[in-house]
Amino acid sequence: MITACRQSKHGTKLAKLACVVMTGFLLYGIAPRVSAQDTSFDPAHVWADLSGTWDVTQDGVNGKHGSYAVCCAGKAEWVPLTPKYRKIRDDFAKLPEYTVAKNTNNMADCITPGVPATLEHPILWEFLLTPGRVTFVAMDGSVRHIWTDGRPFPEDLSPSPQGYSIGHWENRTLVVQTRAISHKSDLFIAGHIKVNPTTRVVERFTVVNSSDLELEVTVTDPEIFTRPYTYHRSFTKIPGTFDVGCSANNRDNGEGGVDLTPPQ
């Protein structure tokens, strides 16, 4: 259209210039907005399969290890803990069952476990997909922003319970890297070992089909593990949504046990 304006045999130079300018405005107005960096939305048409409410189906997938604490807290020798953290694990296992010292789990106090332990709990969650960001929302009140707009990790990060996450797509897998997780976040579901601000977590959420998803979690921290610690879980999509809430009928008695006071 712009070429047509220039090549027109009619009109003055000013008129041709006006034609070019007006054509440019017209094209700008009707052209779709495409961000050069934003490849985060609807990659490979995955969003329709990834959206929805997810519920854990299996800890450990196809013979690959599940999360340590569900296996048998304190006895999973395959978890590559350093000697210092083996002692922490062993000392915790020796504690009397129903004591305050045993009750170190964030969830017991209606506090979000944080990354990575939130997904070790059997809670419901969903992904909200928007351009440049995937937002993780869970039944325990966790909200995580996973930036998929190509940004790197900022230089100066302050630790927080969910940490700072960036993500990218590898076909039907959302790969999430998280750093700067607060030391108050649980590393394991039992809560006896917390995250360090230097701990790094990589989560790979793979959409298997329209109703199944597999998660591989790798935690790296040379102080806690002698090598990267990896476990697997699987999830299935369930109908409906969920309420976020913890304490309507929280019967945890604050001592690692359960309150059996009869209901009113």
Binding site: M107, P122, M139
Partner: protein, 112 residues
């Protein structure tokens, strides 16, 4: 808290079904060996997860006679982690149990 190496069976009468967060609770009156009624509390998953498995706030009426499969409390008190409910008409409802739950461990008849 719950002994996941054991899967026990209990028969009782529904007293209350609490369909609340963070855990649903099913309360049963169970007759002990002295024919006295004892209240048992069975913890299960959150309402949303339970709803996905066929439970609802009005799933049970007070007085319903049901059989439950459960992992017992380690401290021996009258409670457990609910794995399965079997109605009088034979319908089976499975809860969100733990990963070494009754599907693998079915066996011991339980308390009565």
């Amino acid at each position: 808290m719950f002994d996941q190496t054991k899967c026990l069976r209990l028969v009782g009468t529904v007293k209350k079904f609490e369909f609340l967060y963070p855990h649903t609770w099913l309360w049963l009156a169970v007759e002990d060996s002295n024919h006295a009624l004892v209240l048992w509390g069975m913890q299960a998953a959150d309402p949303a997860s339970m709803a996905a498995r066929g439970f609802s706030a009005d799933a049970f009426k007070v007085g319903d006679r049901i059989t439950v499969m459960y992992n017992p409390l380690k401290d021996g008190r009258h409670g457990g982690s609910l794995q399965e409910v079997i109605r009088a008409n034979g319908q089976v409802l499975k809860t969100v149990g733990d990963y070494e739950a009754c599907g693998k461990l079915k066996g011991a008849p339980g308390q009565n």
